[in-house]
Structure formats: structure tokens, C-alpha cells
């Protein structure tokens, strides 16, 4: 089962290592991990996606909560949250493939952000499976290199994982 875990952490020395290290040494695997500052610069938010059954979900949530710099942990349920990922991908530009690349980018609501005679760079955002589908379309057209950000996710509605006044 794929899990999306939101972790609210203090912006302290080594916090990313602590979170990643804990997941590693408990024998679990991370699929994606993103981290960035929150509305309060003293705190960051880490979004982790990983495979795991109920045991893994429970253990990882409880073990993460034990870390001193971790303030809140929440499993985000699919229907209840919004997920996005950003892809930058560079494909070969040639007369034979150009129109197909442009069409694909258009259908997937991608943006051409760099263009030269031998390469095209496209930016696409969306749910991870949309990103994957776009990559599959481009693959036979000659991907030169690509970079995915990993998933960021927020719960729908007015509820927040953590409000800064809880911790200040």
C-alpha cells in the first residue's frame, strides 16, 4: 500500500538526516521525500511517500513522533488530500519528433521552458501517475535527462497539520 506521510519538523541541525535515518534503520524504504520551509521559517514540512502495510504505517508514524525535532506526523488519505509533483524533462529536438513532443506537452498541460535546435525542456505538474504517464509518452522520443521533485501534499479543507502557535 502506498502511503503519503506529512511530517512537521523544527528547522534544526540535522533534522532531515534524523527523519531519513530513522526510516532507513527501521528497515523501511522511501519512494519520494520532499522538504521545504513552512509559513513559519522556524519549521519545515517533509512529505514522504513509501510502501507499507498497516504495521509499517503505524510504526513509522509512532517512531517519527518520538524524534525530538518532529512536532506532528500525519498519514494523508488519498481522497482527503491533494498531491502534486513537478517534472522537468529534456528531450531531443528533431524534425521527426518535434510535433509529437509539442502535442504531448500540450495534452499534459506542460510548458516549454527551454528550446534550442537540439533540445526541448518541458515542465509538467500533476499527480504522480500523470507525471509517469507523460514520461512514458516521451520515452520513445528520446529523453536526454529528467528531474522529478517527489510528492508534496496537503489535506483538503480548513484543517491544518500543525499551526505554528501550537509550538511557539
Amino acid at each position: 500500500m502506498r502511503n503519503v506521510i506529512a511530517v512537521y519538523v523544527e528547522n534544526k541541525y540535522g533534522v532531515l538526516t534524523r527523519v531519513a535515518g530513522l526510516i532507513m534503520r527501521r528497515g523501511f524504504n522511501i519512494d519520494t521525500l520532499t522538504v521545504g520551509e513552512t509559513e513559519n521559517p522556524d519549521y519545515s514540512r517533509i512529505t514522504i511517500t513509501m510502501q507499507g502495510d498497516d504495521y509499517v504505517r503505524t510504526q513509522i508514524t509512532r517512531q517519527l513522533k518520538k524524534l525530538h525535532n518532529v512536532k506532528e506526523v500525519k498519514l494523508l488519505e488519498r481522497g482527503d488530500s491533494v498531491e502534486r509533483e513537478l517534472l522537468l524533462v529534456k528531450v531531443k529536438n528533431s524534425a521527426g519528433t518535434r510535433s509529437e513532443i509539442m502535442t504531448a506537452a500540450d495534452v499534459y498541460r506542460g510548458k516549454i521552458i527551454d528550446y534550442s535546435t537540439d533540445a526541448i525542456m518541458i515542465e509538467v505538474t500533476g499527480e504522480p501517475n500523470k507525471i509517469q504517464a507523460f514520461i512514458d509518452v516521451l520515452r520513445p522520443l528520446g529523453i536526454l535527462e529528467m528531474c522529478r521533485t517527489g510528492v508534496v501534499a496537503l489535506q483538503r479543507g480548513s484543517e491544518a497539520l500543525a499551526t505554528t502557535e501550537n509550538f511557539c
Partner: protein, 557 residues
Amino acid sequence: MQNEKTKRLRGARILIETLLEQGVTDVFGYPGGTVLDIYDELYHARRRLRHVLTAHEQGAAHAADGYARATGKVGVVIATSGPGATNLVTGLATAMLDSVPLVAITGNVATSMIGRDSFQEVDITGVTLPITKHNFFVQDVCELADTIREAFAIARSGRPGPVLIDIPKDVQQALCVFRPAPPAAPRSLPQSKEAKLDRAAALIEKAERPYIYIGGGALGCGLGEAVLALAEKLDAVVGCSFMGLTAVPTDAPRFLGMQGMHGRYAASAAFREADLILGVGVRFSDRATEGLPALNDRATVIQMDTDIAELGKNVPVDCGLHGDLRVLFLLLANRCAAQSHPDWAARVQALRSREAALLASAESAGETALTPQAMFRVINALRDPQTVIATDVGQHQMWTAQFAAFRQPHTLVSSGGLGTMGYGLGAAIGACIGTGKQTLLITGDGSFGMNLTELATAVTERLPLVILVFDNRSLGMVRQMQQTAFGGRLAWTDLSARKTDFVRVAEAFGAKGTRAETPAQFKKAFAAALKEKTPVLIDCRLDPELQAFSPLSLEEV
């Protein structure tokens, strides 16, 4: 004139003042280049704070650990950067696995030199990340006092554990205003909802063969009497993990002793036959439950722990309760009504009789030779029940768990989770200093050989330490596994080619040493040793073929 309350102090002095503020009276350590400033302040503070120099930083870490286990206070250890810091690693991991409150202070190279592979530089916060409850790297002297206060609060609160503070040299030398502050009150823990307690009480009510399984958490929370009272009310029996030893007196009527791989027959068998297991501050570790069929097929399992992550971690539980273990247990006990289970009581009595018979038959081998059972009869008869027993790891440790009589909580100091050979002597030194009383170290020739250099510390501090080396010229625990599972091929566990004379080793360090080869010699030597005020070692010669199997596995074989 500077105001007394807002004096600017150097970081090293702030460290000492904050340690005193936290109630620290003793620290263990070893000086070095990056802790020179701290050691100079320790010198000035020597009448307010006792520093015990060990022979090796690992010994200092184990001493701080033994001190903490025997007294319930936070143990403190100080080491220099690089090798000094890495020598703490085994001690920190030992404390982590057994939830012992420690604060380790390490020096490091100046912040301007960090990350350049400077002399004796090591990223000790990185190294100790998985084996500390938390660690700190202090970059600003003005954060030092609060960091130390926070470290003590973390080490003590909830499920205790070791915390490391790495302080670069320039931070020790920098000046900052120091404002004293009292130690923080213990933090309250989130607690399971009342409804869960009701559910647990309902499950208990249905029990016909109840078994209360206690661990280090129950010991740490002083729940021994409450556990026995609940056992009485429920007509239940009590067994423990290795870490739960001493929580209740060995001879308490409803107590069956330690269960598991090397545990007592009756405890392991009752655990196996129970239809309700109430785990109290215990993690159902593999050594304590190994070889037993899946729990939930035959028993309802309730687990209560300070650490919510322990609930269901090793075995699935039907009801998990978390929070302040003491509060939680008393709330649950109040919800339980009295029960009576004559069939279960009769069955347990039969198991106890079987255990006595198995023990008697296991011992018939040697009447004149020294045996662990014979030694523990002497130890149990002569030892003051307040005397702490520290052990190393191996057969002698399991014999201690099986045969030593404990009457007082925290009178066993031993490495359970990590199983650290070489732990015992340092830990015994720490326990002896912490309690201010004679301390008994039970060790083996293998374990003792690892860190016997701490004899120098025991002699320097003139500690009333009685060291019993269970000397079988072999790494007995591994040897017996090779005999059963590896065709008897003794791969480097036979130490008979070693010519170490432990009596003369003790004498070389300035301690006393004697040897015992028969029960009569042992009794005489032990009685004499208890009268000594300084370290004394008894080399107890045991047959290498003696095994530390549990009576349960004896029967199964």
C-alpha cells in the same frame, strides 16, 4: 561591577554550573585536547562535583550507565573529541537499548575547523544518531545552558535514554551571560483514552489463565508492589523479561521469575499456557518470547507502555495502552474486579514442581566441583539484599538471572538489550560510586578480559568491589551454541590456551585476588571478600562443559 545574576561566564563554566543546577554530583570521564577547558573548570569545581577518571572512555560510559541504573539519577560522562567520543559508542548503544538516562558531553574541534578532517575531529552527532534518544551540536555559547537543560529533560522524561551534547572548543571558551534556572518539571505524557482502559478491563474480566508479564518499564516506574497486588486480585501469576528482574522480590509468592530463551521453566511454560497476557512496560523481545508459538492464537494480549511505538511492535496486541505507565497501571488495576482461578493455580503449582525437579536433576552432576547453583546458594545467603549485583554478558549473566535472589528494586545492573560484553566492570564501578555501598560484579573470563583495565579505576577510587570471575576458560554462551547448532566445532571459543592468571592480574593492578575451585573454597573466599573495603577478585574455576540452558529447553531436548 557585574551583577551576580547576570555574570558573563565561559562556556566550560556554564556547563559545570548547569550540571550542578541539574543536581549532578558525580561525573565519569577522560580528559583530552578539546575538553581542556571543561577539565580546567572541573578542577576548580572539584569540591562541588566529583570527577571519576576511568582507564578508557568506554569504561566511563558504562560507569555512568551503572550509576544511573543503580540510583535512578541521570548518569553523566565526559569525553574528548575523535577517539574519545567514538569510544562512548558502545556505552551509548547499551544505554539506548535498555532505556537508561545518560547525558554524554563531548568536546569537538573549534567551529572554524569543523568539516576539515582536523586532528581528532569526528562527526559524533552523526555517529550516535541511531543510538541516542537525541543529540545536540552546540554552535553558540548562548544556547549552551538551555541545551544542557533540555538534554537532561529528554534523558529523564517518558521512556528514558541517552542524550549526547557535542561542544566545540571555541564554544567552551566563548563568553555568555549565565542565568541560573531550576531543573524542569517532568513532562506530562499523552495518555490512552478512558474507553481503552475499560476495554482492557473487560478483556481481563474474561481471563481464566491470567499472566502478568513485566519488563524494565515496570521496574522504572516502581510498580512492583502494585503488580503483585493486581496478581493477587486476579489470581494471576507474574513473570518478567530480563530487564524486569528486581521489580518484584524473587521469592514473591506469585512470581515465577524470568521467562524466555534462558528463563525459568515455570515462567516460560505459564506464559505459553496463559489465555491472557498483560504486558507492563515490556517490549516482548525476541529473547523473551522466542520459540513460543504465535501469541495471539491462544491468548489475548494487552500491552501497556510509556512509549506508544512499542505497542504491537514485536507482537500483535488486542489492546494497547500508552501514557504514564504508573498512572495507567493503577487506573487499570482499579477497574479490575477480584477473580478466582483454582485450575490455573493448580496448573502453575504443577509447573513449579516440575521446575524444581528439573533443577535438582540438572545439578546432580557435581557435588565437589564448583557449580553456579552452589555459588548462588552462598551468594544469596551472604549478600546484603541492598547490594547491587552488576554482571557482564554470557552464561554467568543468565545464571544470575536464574539463581540470584533479589529483594530490592534496581539491585541488578546488566546489559539486556545490547548484550554488551565488557560492560560489567565499568557499570559496577558506577553503581558502587552511586550507591556508596559495596557492589558485586559477576563476570566471566571472556567478558572480564575485554575491559579489565578498569581495575585501575576501582583501585584508584578505593571502591568496595567484589569481583567474581566465572572462569571456564571459554566463551561459554557461544560455545554452547556451537555445541548444539554447529556440530560441536568450537570456533575460537575455547580460551584454554590463554594463560591469564586473574589473581595475579588483580594484584598487578593493586587489588586483592584469590582463587576458588570448590564450593567450600568459594564460601570461604566470598565471606572474606565481603569484609574488604577495597577491590577484591575471586577467580572461580568452573567446568567449561556447564551450560546455561533454561530448564524449559532441557525438557524439550
